[in-house]
């Protein structure tokens, strides 16, 4: 089963949940798709066995052949090419790499060159397989790297996907194809506001989902329950706000290793999700 962990709002505890769940169920694979700020490996200190640079294609113009007709610039939906008389400028940070400019160029003056966007690392932490991507600083396009991380998906294991915060393309790319999505929220107005946004996406994508409320004790959880009840979304687990849990996280230690009753709670969470999915 493929289970994604998302939240909308950042810092609600996605990574903590994803890591604790993955180690508790055993023999799983964890794909950290938050390539802008990958943190799961900090809690697992995996032994990295392989790493691979990832590239994307950006256009490169042969000015000998280019006659500045401007068709490439007119075609590009992302304004990544600017043509003025006698000059052509490429803005690689705006390019999505669709390859259309090379297709429309009548003089075959455009080719595509590789541009490094980051690296994918694969490793093990005991029986847990972990894959994570690291986006190069200054590189705007996270999606192609997330796509690359997801190519490592191991169908022989249960897979947990740790999503980035937000509610735009990197989140979509991560949760796409998941059997279920766990939404981690916190009982604050910000947590609920952003939960509503991410629920809208999952409804559109037709991905079954449930909620885990983290840091119970801060703010007021009743509004989250009222919202979930109205939307018919199961609340799967509550994690209390405890200084000990926060402190373990700050030191990079998954709290289910130190507070053993939690390993059982995470296993039950996974069983409950399987139950919901009829698996």
């Amino acid at each position: 089963m493929i289970v994604a962990v998302a939240s909308g709002k950042g810092g609600t505890g996605k990574t903590s949940l994803a890591v604790n769940l993955a180690i508790s169920i055993g023999n799983a694979q964890l794909l950290d798709c938050d390539v802008e700020g990958p943190n799961a490996h900090l809690l697992l200190s995996p032994k990295v066995i392989r790493q691979k640079p990832v590239y994307r294609f950006v256009p490169s113009v042969d000015e000998e052949l280019c006659d500045y007709c401007g068709r490439c610039a007119a075609f590009c939906q992302y304004n990544a090419i600017l043509v003025v008389p006698g000059k052509i400028l490429i803005f690689p940070e705006l390019c999505h790499g669709c390859g259309g400019c090379a297709l429309v160029c009548p003089r075959k003056a455009i080719s595509e060159k590789k541009s490094r966007i980051g690296v994918v690392k694969e490793g093990f932490a005991n029986d847990l397989k972990i894959v994570f991507g690291e986006l190069e600083v200054g590189e705007p396009m996270a999606v192609p790297l997330i796509r690359e991380v997801k190519k490592y998906l191991d169908r022989n294991r249960d897979v947990i996907l740790d999503a980035p915060p937000g509610a735009s393309c990197p989140v979509i790319e991560t949760v796409k194809g998941s059997d279920f999505c766990i939404l981690v929220t916190e009982p604050t107005p910000f947590g609920l506001h952003d939960l509503r946004i991410i629920v809208e996406i999952l409804e559109d994508m037709d991905i079954p989902h449930g909620v885990v409320i983290n840091r119970v004790g801060i703010g007021d959880k009743r509004e989250i329950y009222e919202y979930c009840e109205k939307k018919n979304i199961p609340v799967l687990l509550e994690i209390p706000y405890q200084r000990r849990i926060a402190e373990l996280y700050s030191r990079g230690i998954p709290f289910s290793l130190e507070i053993p009753e939690w390993a059982g709670k995470f296993r039950k969470l996974f069983e409950d999700i399987k139950g919901l999915m009829g698996k």
Partner: protein, 292 residues
């Protein structure tokens, strides 16, 4: 005109809490919420919307099934895997590039424009606010950030306001880049956790990459003294000034629940005082007129 962006790398470290407090302290300011995927600042500053504008961020392909001969060329050429087995367009994969439309031999594909979000220009008690909402799941958040910042600049120019404060998104990708280019300073709000430190380092690299002067605020510094120490040492070594150390205080959440900036809700709390000190330090570093 000066511009300051509050960012963090890691989400949930307190960007919006700090931005709202600074807004109250600055008194006459244009504040821009550039976390367009998951905007929260409006919940503390209660903007009164003056103008709402449509954002058309991206297009989407549509295949006319009466014309389609199912040749498969579009599927072969699409780099985003957006053409399904039965020749429909997967809206969650299509990036609106238009390659399918130019390769289709029977002109069965058209690109349709869609409204991907809205930009709001609003009044707040402390000046003006520009904010936006990207429709859930839409792409091109960087472009929307750019639109928000353009409107903020126009407002500041017209209103004779000298400072724009930007609440940035988490991460270091396209919306974060669009939030920091060309600003005078970036305040990275971090927390003393391993993740906070890891993402702080990346956020500082991002600012340096775009020639923006970095400053650091350690939020909830007292939850792990050793890690706070590491952050301070790291900043010293890298010549980055730490302008604030904010203690953990549940009053921050209480203020949020009550829809107020912590400085309004509890002006005498230790956090409020620390944030005010940080604001004074930042203003003096940037030679801004201090309003508090």
């Amino acid at each position: 005109m000066r511009q300051i962006t509050v960012l963090s790398g890691k989400g949930g470290t307190g960007k919006t809490t700090i931005t709202a407090a600074f807004t109250v302290l600055a008194k006459n300011i244009v504040v821009a919420d550039c976390d367009v995927d998951a905007p929260n600042l409006h919940m503390l500053l209660h903007p009164e919307i003056l103008e709402k504008k449509e954002f058309r961020g991206s297009r989407m392909a549509a295949i006319d099934e009466t014309k389609c001969i199912k040749c498969g060329i579009c599927r072969e050429r699409c780099r985003f895997g957006a053409i399904t087995q039965d020749f429909t367009v997967d809206p969650f994969s299509c990036e609106g590039c238009g390659v399918c439309a130019i390769v289709c031999p029977v002109n069965a594909v058209t690109l349709t424009e869609r409204i991907s979000g809205y930009v709001y220009i609003s009044r707040i008690r402390y000046g003006f606010m520009v904010h936006a909402l990207l429709k859930p799941g839409e792409s091109n958040s960087g472009k929307l950030v750019t639109m928000v910042r353009q409107d903020a600049r126009l407002l500041a120019e017209r209103g004779g306001i000298g400072l724009i404060l930007i609440d940035g998104p988490p991460g270091i990708g396209c919306p974060a880049i669009a939030s920091v280019t060309g600003v005078d300073a970036g305040l990275v709000v971090t927390e003393p956790t391993l993740s906070g430190i890891h993402d702080l380092e990346r956020a500082i690299q991002l600012l340096r990459h775009f020639n923006v002067r970095p400053f650091v605020c350690v939020n909830m510094y007292d939850i792990n003294a050793d890690n706070t120490d590491r952050i301070l040492k790291f900043c010293e070594k890298n010549d980055v000034e730490v302008v604030g150390k904010i203690p953990f205080n549940p009053v921050v959440t209480k203020a949020m629940v009550n829809g107020k900036a912590v400085i309004e809700y509890s002006p005498d709390a230790d956090v409020a005082k620390e944030i005010a000190d940080m604001w004074r330090r930042l203003c003096s570093e940037l030679s801004l007129e201090v309003t508090c």
